[in-house]
């Protein structure tokens, strides 16, 4: 069982794709980072919260047939790397989609879905997944 506190710390990124932007060089990071690996010490104290765009296109994808328990009822399913419209690369599940239609370049958007739950009595983890854009 993952720590509740750790999951809680990740809420901004998981719900709303909140990452960070280096005010020194302008590079955007998701998940968020405390300092910029390019600017290093020059970025200290200059990392700003940045809301990553929820829409983008599939950069590449794969189909998972051997799923972890949390996704047993969803397999087979697609996992995609998405290039968001503000240029950030994000990996996530692509759901509510006919697997035959998944393609590189496909337009997608991030929605909130249930990722996992700590058994029948533990906390429920919510986070982003992708669906085809309307």
């Amino acid at each position: 069982m993952a720590s509740v506190a750790r999951e809680w710390r990740e809420i901004p990124g998981r719900y709303n794709l909140i990452g960070t932007k280096c005010a020194n060089c302008g590079k955007i990071f998701f998940p968020s980072r405390d300092f910029c690996p390019v600017c290093r010490r020059k970025s200290l104290g200059k990392m700003e919260k940045h809301s990553v765009c929820r829409t983008g296109e599939v950069f590449t994808y794969t189909v998972i047939y051997d799923a972890p328990d949390c996704n047993n009822r969803l397999k087979p399913y697609a996992v995609v790397m998405v290039r968001t419209d503000d240029g950030v690369m994000i990996t996530g599940q692509l759901v509510d989609v006919d697997l035959e239609s998944v393609a590189i370049g496909m337009r997608v958007r991030a929605v909130l879905r249930k990722l996992d739950a700590d058994g029948a009595s533990g906390v429920i983890h919510y986070g982003f997944k992708f669906v085809p854009e309307d």
Binding site: N72, L74, V95, L112, I124, D134
Partner: protein
């Protein structure tokens, strides 16, 4: 102060099952069952969907249509449902976080069978009207439960809609709201029980029909109106049959309830039912249209609303989120096995 709907958003999961398929498993003529209930199919949530995700999607659609509204100006969020994922731990805080409305706000989950969503609208109207908050959000959403083989299994579905209540740029003014409430045990689910029980035919005359007609007549009296004064009407819709009959009893024509009646296509979305019906009406509404709304929640009570669409709907950016017609346009049909898997009816190893 003019209080009303500033924005709205809806969401219904993509999957559908037909009554014939449910009947096939239980040795029942499902087609006849569907015909009797006036339900041709019902929505089914994906295994990764629940009231939190449905309410969030509806609320995000609602916010997308009003880019001028700062989520930080939302002072209250109420999510009405009878299928909150947690018994203790609010759905509303997760939704609030997901639309960026936290932390200077109040939130609570509501439950009143199928009318918790409209009860939330009333609570928000009070908070906005009294000046306590600038905007309030009321959401009705459910992933309702029907015991395997029970009549409810043919109707209990999933979906929801969200309403931003305020006093600025109101697209639909709420002229008046009132309620009719009694202690009538027609339908219930005890703590810890997976499926509800109901009083069969008792859910009809003394429950649904008495409460809806009483609240509706109180509204006609209060406003000095009759059915002919409204362009559209929305009634709670546990099936297609009840709202059609109650509309006729109150003098409404089939055309007046057409847009507000979604149950034949998506099943009974419980707390989501009237909010979704109203959303579909607003998708088609023009300035000046008057809308009559009456919800019903078992246990039992009805909330009635008299609504007038304003000129502001012309500048409303409805196209920034999908309308219901679009949301319902690409259903994926599942068989009973998939439905049972998706709804968690199959016991999995820990």
């Amino acid at each position: 102060m003019e209080v009303g709907i500033v924005s709205y958003g809806a969401y219904v999961p993509r999957y559908r099952i037909k009554p014939e398929e449910i009947g096939r498993i239980w040795g029942v003529d499902g087609k006849a069952m569907g015909k009797g209930l006036m339900i041709s199919q019902k929505s089914v949530p994906s295994p990764d969907e629940d009231v939190v995700t449905i309410a969030t999607e509806a609320a995000r659609h609602m916010m997308a249509r009003v880019p001028q509204v700062d989520p930080a100006d939302i002072g209250a969020i109420y999510v009405g449902s009878e299928s909150h994922p947690y018994a203790v731990k609010p759905t509303s805080t997760i939704v609030a976080e997901s639309i960026g409305a936290t932390p200077a706000m109040t939130a609570a989950d509501m439950e009143f069978a199928c009318k918790a969503g409209t009860a939330g609208i009333q609570a928000c109207m009070g908070l906005v009207g009294s000046g306590m908050v600038r905007y309030g959000v009321a959401i009705g959403a459910d992933t309702s439960q029907g015991a395997p083989g029970d009549a409810l299994e043919y109707s209990a579905s999933a979906g929801g809609a969200a309403y931003l209540i305020g006093s600025e740029d109101v697209i639909a003014r709420i002229n008046r709201t009132l309620s009719f409430t009694t202690d009538t045990p027609d339908f219930w689910r005890r703590e810890g029980q997976p499926y509800p029980l109901h009083g069969g035919r008792f859910t009809g005359e003394p429950a649904y029909f008495r409460h809806i007609t009483s609240a509706a007549k109180m509204m006609f009296d209060a406003m000095g109106t009759s059915a002919a004064d409204y362009k559209y009407a929305v009634f709670h819709q546990p099936n297609g049959k009840f709202p059609t009959r109650v509309a006729k009893q109150l003098g409404f024509s089939p055309e007046q309830i057409e847009y507000g009646l979604l149950t034949p296509q998506i099943g009974n979305t419980y707390s989501g039912a009237v909010p979704l019906g109203l959303a579909n009406v607003l998708d088609h509404a023009e300035p000046g249209d008057r809308i009559f709304v009456t919800s019903y929640g078992s246990g039992a009570g009805s909330d009635a609303f008299d609504i007038t669409v304003t000129d502001a709907i012309k500048g409303y950016q409805r196209g920034r989120a999908p309308v219901l017609e679009k949301i319902l346009s690409s259903p994926v049909y599942v068989d009973y096995g998939t439905y049972a898997k998706y709804k968690g009816k199959i016991v999995m190893p820990e």
